[in-house]
Symmetry: C2
Subunit: 220 residues, 2 copies
Amino acid sequence: MSAFSTAATGGRKKRGEGHTRREEILQAAKELFLEQGYDSTTIRKIADRVGVSAPALYLYFQDKEQMMLALCDQTFGHLIDSIDEIEKSVAEPRDRIRQFGEAYLRFGLKHPDEYRLIFLGSNVPESVRKVGHRMPTDDPTRPGVNGSIVFQRLVSVLVEAEASGLKLNYPADTCAELCWMGMHGLASALILKPEFPWSNRDLLINGMLDMVLKGIIRDT
Amino acid sequence: MSAFSTAATGGRKKRGEGHTRREEILQAAKELFLEQGYDSTTIRKIADRVGVSAPALYLYFQDKEQMMLALCDQTFGHLIDSIDEIEKSVAEPRDRIRQFGEAYLRFGLKHPDEYRLIFLGSNVPESVRKVGHRMPTDDPTRPGVNGSIVFQRLVSVLVEAEASGLKLNYPADTCAELCWMGMHGLASALILKPEFPWSNRDLLINGMLDMVLKGIIRDT
DNA sequence: AAGATAACTTATCGACGTTAAGTTAACGGC
DNA sequence: GCCGTTAACTTAACGTCGATAAGTTATCTT
């Protein structure tokens, strides 16, 4: 009697249904990565949870790293969704920028383990850690590019804000970089050290958002 | 004929000179960690470079992790030194804070690999990644506490600045946290992605310093 | 019924961190 | 000068890891 999981379905798949096995593997891998981290999640543990032998995973993934990359893309897809929502519903440039930062932070706080795995590199290979800030020129067909799309969106928001009359202290791309650096610093600190005696969590969040906006938007 | 290194010294140590072997191991481990990262640096590679067998390392270190922690403390010692220098030579509060941030950044850019290993967790165990932001209450006698001392110093600088009349937007500890978050965001971005088409490196550095100071120091 | 082949398993590889147990060489005391 | 003690090592081995090779089973097509 093996471990229960939403991923396990029992016996051998019928022909042409291998893709469902692939999804089961991803589900089990995600559970284990979040429960135990990257290193402790072994190929054999994933296989056990799915209910197949370890080498069976290599029918669906090139290696362990590709499983992680697939999960990263999946998770970042959710962040991109909430960004879309903001762009639709918020028009005022300042609010957009602030809510964009808030969405990024909310995403991090809502998925702390994924964020840790992706941005804080909990023992993941270098290629996985780069998913969150991949170069724009990278091949968009390979897995792990959703992370860079998020940054591109921030640049777009700032460019549009500038076009609609907002004065920035620096070029839009510089401002986007400064904004991301600040929000990432905040998110990583709160996530990595939830037990740290932070002075005041809400004060930090609003302080950082104020700091970023003050830093990139010209005083009027 | 084994690989050359500043660490290798040839034959067996005389009695009572085991501590020199310990330093050779640290030197070799540092070289290899920086050249190849944590995971790729195996016990056997370190031992080869030193010129001893792999188990010999366990005479001087409990495990691989303790080697890394010892190196972290050593490296952070250098940052603490430069902080001391600033506190001695710079009196004006604003300058002190700015130079403190600059020193942190300079440290990161000068030792990008150490910074990566310590703060960006290049596959190091969790305990090592925590060295850079360990809780103040942790046992100060165990290895890996130098990192937290740096943060304590920043708080002190801000408290003294406040005492000497500077007005802060938030309590000193909150300001210290915001400052660290910003500088860490900057450092990690520049270090982790040196090949990224950053808009302008100097602009980013000065932009972040301005942003942080504007964010924590009340307008006059 | 008979291939063809998707979906698997068993066996195995080399490398890893680490431990156990044995060996060698340098020293103080006689 | 030899001797016991013990610091400073070595060789051998264990269990686990990610990954591969080669063989097996079951489902589908014809």
